[in-house]
């Protein structure tokens, strides 16, 4: 059996994709964005609460997609919760390097260990976009997705 396929579809990934964490709507989100992959039709919504200190206080997502995009979104929400934007950015950069099979010097040892299940993607360049969709959507939510204060909670 194909080793790289087993690497890609490890139990952890399949588990995340079947039982995504932080899945659902965040009523009091301060930021949100919709991500869309026009090539496959996959969609993801990312919603989050950014607190006064610029930390991701809460984060959720909804959407439909392949195992990779769902697992990636699920893991992302798990890892981003509680981080500052600067930390989030660093994590995202590291993640993108990692799935492309490049050096990811910015990642902490702990984060690297956590993300290691995604490293198999570097053998599947056609699927990298699936893995990065949620992350780019998070980034868009921060940059352009601020929700008017009336609606939102903090900030």
């Amino acid at each position: 059996m194909d080793h790289s396929l087993r690497e890609l579809y490890q139990e952890v990934i399949l588990d995340h994709s079947r039982h995504p964490r932080h899945f659902g709507v965040l009523e009091n989100a301060t930021h949100k964005a919709e991500g869309y992959n026009p090539l496959c039709g996959d969609k993801v919504h990312v919603m989050l609460v950014l607190d006064k200190d610029g930390r991701v206080a809460d984060i959720r997502f909804t959407g439909k997609g392949c195992a990779i995009s769902q697992a990636s979104a699920s893991m992302m929400t798990e890892m981003l919760a509680g981080r500052t934007l600067a930390e989030a950015q660093k994590l995202m950069d590291g993640f993108i390097h990692l799935v492309k099979g490049e050096e990811a010097p910015g990642l902490s040892a702990d984060d690297r260990e956590h993300l290691d299940v995604m490293a198999g993607l570097s053998e599947f360049p056609m699927r990298v976009k699936c893995a990065t969709l949620a992350w780019h959507t998070f980034s868009n939510a921060i940059e352009e997705g601020a929700i008017a204060a009336a609606e939102g909670a903090a900030s």
Partner: protein, 415 residues
């Protein structure tokens, strides 16, 4: 490209397969199983050789010079037009306009035939199984000129509801734009009947033949159709070329699309007058080498007993359909009677992209996604499907590999 085509009865699929150099390559260490001809077909040696040979010996720009090569190239280009004419059985060669592909052929009708005639509230009838290339040009007329799109549904088996189509025609209908063969469902539409009903109400019909021209025998005169669009790259021909058949009376009345060299009669500072069709619609240097390649592809295809080719493809489809039908975790979309050899399905708990990735590692090329048919995806309530589409070079062993791959996907992705 002017060769007399001799048809051999029956169809020797193994022999034909050997005509395609790429099919002997490996992918991920496995023999290539190419089941993505619906997206684009592979090219036989004769097509590549014809283009290569032409470029190496007879190339020049067309319609522009009195020198020998210019004449040779013009002859080849115009002979290619006659090959297309024969392929769709058009009455006249000047009813064939070369385009860059199927999409441009449809846009040409939208920009040059329909746009000047559209008033707010005018209607265009479409089926829900259209490819985006036969939707978006009409959406332009909605966005820009207030046209109304009237959608005709398909039945649950994917067949066209012809009564619904008939009912959708109103006094405001300006065009029916419909596929000849769906690139997702494989459904073949009853064009002759559609045209008859449309013409009874004075409405012209455009067929998107991107798939249909490959798998069905097209006779535009028998169909009495107004417009028929086809594309080279799905027809075992090159990229960068397609063709529009249009009735002469339409072409003569249509305004130009792109402006440039070759499509004019006279240009001054103050005015411009236009050449007769088809030149009027072929601005600039056309895809000359590609026209030669398209003609070679059509000659190649016409050299077979096409009914036998169709039967061969259908046999593969039926074999795959039967096997997949036995898997209770697979839902097939598109079972219209008389459909072409395209198998689209959803597998329970498995996203099409993941299925396609696993199949790819087995050497099997299928397509996963919305297939440029989002309206149809919505109709069937799916975000995407996996699609295996068959060409004349496929065989039963390809299907077996596909099926084995599916089982493996189920193993890996679980249930």
């Amino acid at each position: 490209m002017t060769a007399q085509v001799k048809i051999v009865p029956g169809f020797d699929a193994a022999k034909a397969r050997a005509d395609f150099p790429i099919l002997s390559r490996q992918v991920h260490g496995k023999p290539l199983v190419y089941l993505d001809s619906g997206a684009s077909a592979q090219k036989p040696r004769v097509v590549l050789d014809a283009m290569n040979e032409f470029a190496r010996t007879n190339y020049a720009n067309v319609h522009r010079g009195v020198h020998y090569l210019s004449g040779a190239a013009t002859d080849a280009y115009e002979a290619a037009r006659r090959t297309v004419q024969k392929f769709v059985n058009a009455a006249r060669e000047d009813e064939i306009v070369f385009t860059k592909g199927g999409t441009e052929a449809i846009n040409l009708v939208s920009y040059s035939f329909l746009a000047p005639a559209i008033h707010p509230g005018d209607e265009i009838v479409l089926s829900v199984m259209e490819h985006h290339s036969n939707i978006v040009p009409w959406h332009f007329l909605r966005e820009r000129q207030g046209a109304v799109l009237r959608w005709v549904d398909v039945r649950d088996d994917g067949s066209l509801d012809i009564e619904a189509l008939d009912a959708a025609i109103t006094p405001k209908t300006k065009l029916i734009a419909i596929t000849h063969m769906s690139n997702v469902l494989g459904t073949v539409t009853p064009l002759a009947e559609i045209v008859a009903r449309a013409h009874a109400k004075g409405v012209p019909v455009l067929a998107d033949g991107a798939q249909g021209a490959v798998h069905e025998i097209v006779d535009v005169q028998a169909l009495d159709i107004d417009f028929y669009a086809l594309t080279g790259h799905k027809l075992y021909g090159p990229t960068g070329i397609g063709a529009l058949y249009a009735k002469r009376k339409h072409l003569r009345a249509m305004r130009p699309f792109n402006g440039g060299g070759e499509m004019i009669r006279e240009v001054t500072r103050d005015i411009v007058t236009y050449a007769d069709p088809p030149a009027r619609f072929e601005a600039g240097t056309p895809p000359i080498i590609e026209a030669v390649g398209l003609a070679a592809a059509m000659d190649y295809l016409s050299g077979f007993d096409r009914a036998a080719v169709r039967a061969h493809e259908h046999d593969l489809y039926a074999y795959a359909r039967q096997a997949v039908g036995e898997l209770n975790w697979v839902r097939v979309i598109g079972d219209a009677p008389g459909k072409g050899a395209i198998l689209s399905f959803e597998a329970e708990g498995m996203h099409a992209h993941d299925v396609a990735t696993i199949l790819d590692r087995e050497g099997v090329a299928v397509r996963a996604g919305h297939h440029c048919a989002q309206v149809l995806m919505e109709r069937f309530g799916v975000a995407s499907t996996t699609r295996a589409s068959f060409g004349l070079y496929n065989n039963r062993s390809d299907v077996d590999t596909l099926l084995a791959g599916l089982t493996k996907a189920r193993e890996i992705l679980g249930s």
